[in-house]
């Protein structure tokens, strides 16, 4: 490491006109850096932030993760996408309670410290808004990864399996749905099928080694791995166990998919396999021909990503990208492919296959089946065009 640094300094000195930089360094004593701090900040040279859409009601909007600026599979908590319906409540965890009632033998009120006493697990899962990439249904799509794919993020979540608490309260026969409700101003609620709740749902209080961020539901949220983000109710205050879905506003008038025949699909909960190339991608520029690492993210609500193929010629030929291990179920998977750009126009895309055998479809195939007005759950292949001047832009019409 040191050797490299010295070589770089010498190189720099040579570039500046021989010895100048080295001499200046010798004449001025070094300055001390910043002292220790209680809570870390990133380098002032790193500026990447969430993209927030302008809104007259900013409490009910969304902000998107700059996926093209992230490495690996984890999203920094401070950059995790947001989607709120009535603002972020400021909750004192000492006063927060979770109430489980309805068709149960022993209804319970639980304080946060009681929930944290229960056996816990940590799992890495992506979260994606059902409306992510909604712009891709339209004639004109969004210009970059952040604005079109940024309502997806991936974190390590820590909490209690919901199945454990359902055993503790004793679910009564006939109970088949759970109505989950938040403590935000609008008491956001969604109906979650009992089978999924018993399978792998979590009551999460930890995110990436810390307590949840307020924007992610502090102090407690529901985590429903692989399903649309809206089901993963934040600021969770109630689980009402019942025999029917409540057909709430956010599972009927919203997050349902309107088909060309005028019918809307309801409870389209699982997120199908999806991927996007984050480099090179819209808004970026390649300084010159030569070697680059094509990279991106893939995920599936049906389990592990088995394969990601990349094309450099607009889909005529495909080659397998390398997948970063470990590949975890319902988590981001990083893919990479070394690529020597010859300076000519190139149309680049990725295509994911998950462990169920499902292959990510082309955008045109998706639109052919679902039309342009379904609004939610877009998972089609995304093409980027590299022009001869090195600029990269959205290649969709």
């Amino acid at each position: 490491m040191k050797k490299t640094n010295r070589r770089q300094v010498l190189k720099l000195g040579a570039a500046l006109g021989g010895g100048l930089a080295v001499r200046a360094r010798a004449e001025e004593p070094a300055k001390l850096g910043k002292p220790l701090s209680g809570y870390g900040e990133r380098s002032p040279f790193v500026k990447s932030t969430r993209f927030t859409r302008q809104s007259k009601t900013p409490e009910a909007g969304s902000s998107s993760t700059p996926l093209a600026d992230t490495y690996g599979i984890l999203t920094p908590s401070s950059l995790h996408y947001e989607r709120h319906h009535a603002g972020v409540p400021n909750i004192d965890p000492a006063r927060h309670r979770l109430t489980i009632h309805g068709l149960v033998e022993r209804p319970l009120v639980l304080a946060m410290d009681e929930i944290r006493r229960l056996p816990s697990v940590s799992r890495i899962h992506f979260l994606e808004c059902g409306g992510n990439s909604g712009a891709e249904w339209a004639e004109r799509t969004a210009p970059d990864v952040q604005r079109s794919y940024g309502l997806a993020s991936c974190s390590e979540w820590t909490g209690v399996p919901l199945s454990l608490l359902l055993a503790e309260v004793g679910v009564k026969p006939g109970a088949s749905w759970i109505i989950a409700e938040g403590a935000d101003a609008c008491r956001m609620q969604r109906s979650v099928p009992m089978l999924k709740a018993l399978d792998d749902a979590l009551l999460a209080y930890g995110q990436n080694g810390e307590p949840l961020r307020p924007e992610q539901g502090f102090p407690l949220r529901l985590l429903v791995p692989g399903w649309e983000g809206n089901t993963q109710v934040k600021w969770l205050q109630r689980l009402h166990v019942t025999h029917q879905p409540h057909l709430t506003r956010d599972e009927t008038s919203k997050y349902s998919d309107l088909m060309p025949d005028g019918k809307a699909r309801i409870f389209t909960l699982v997120l199908e396999a999806k991927s996007v190339v984050t480099f090179p991608s819209g808004g970026q520029r390649l300084p010159s021909p030569g070697l680059y690492e094509l990279t991106g993210l893939a995920w599936s609500g049906r389990g592990r990503v088995e394969r990601v193929e990349a094309t450099l010629d607009g889909g005529r030929t495909w080659q397998d990208a390398q997948l970063q291990e470990p590949r975890l179920p319902m988590a981001f998977t990083r893919f990479r492919l070394p690529w020597r750009w010859d300076g000519r126009e190139a149309v680049i895309a990725s295509r994911a296959t998950d462990e169920s055998g499902y292959v990510q479809p082309a955008r045109e195939e998706l639109i052919a089946v679902r039309g342009r007005n379904s609004g939610y759950h877009f998972n089609g292949i995304k093409r980027w065009k590299v022009s001869v001047d090195g600029s990269v832009a959205n290649a969709e019409a």
Binding site: T57, A86, T99, H101, R106, P107, L108, V109, L110, A111, R117, S163, A167, E168, G170, V171, P173, A175, S176, I179, E181, A185, R187, P193, M194, L195, K196, L198, D199, Q237, R238, Q244, H246, L247, T248, R249, T252, S253, M259, G262, K263, A264, R265, I266, F267, T268, L269, V270, T311, G314, G315, R351, Y358, V359, E365, A368, V369, N373, I381, R383
Partner: protein, 184 residues
Amino acid sequence: MRRLSGLALTFALALAAQSPKYGVGRPPGDSDIRSLGIIVAPDGTGLPEGSGTAVEGREVFAAQCAKCHGEKGEGGVGPALVGGQGTLATPKPRKTVGSFWPHATTVWDYVNRAMPFNQPGVLSHPQVYAVVAYVLYLNGIVEERQALNAKSLPKVRMPNRDGFVADPRPDVKRSPGGLTPPPR
């Protein structure tokens, strides 16, 4: 979504019905549940006492809703609540309470828990019945003097009641080229 297979569910419930293992928490009292607020099922379970008509709701709407949703529910800062019937299968569908929402109970529950946007919970239960009646009246779904209450509201038939279908995915099959539709 996984199919709720009867056998699997019975098995899962048998597991869930074990005796308590950890002994955490306390049983909620009636006041605990009440303080959480009302939660309404599509069959009307949970609807509180009270009653309201569109005539009464007109005033509530003007005071609490029109600022965002327009004087006649035509929309503004907030979404349109009225119109759009017959547009769902067209290139420019307009999804409103009148054209899209399948259950009147959902309208009541949502208004009660989440509206008005900047002050949810400010409306009394009779006011919620009244303002829901007014929105349904503007959509031609109820009469102006029709009283909505816990009994009558679940019986209101919304125009798009049968407009929803189950999730058929995976619905898009892979074509050999991947980026272009398969050759015929």
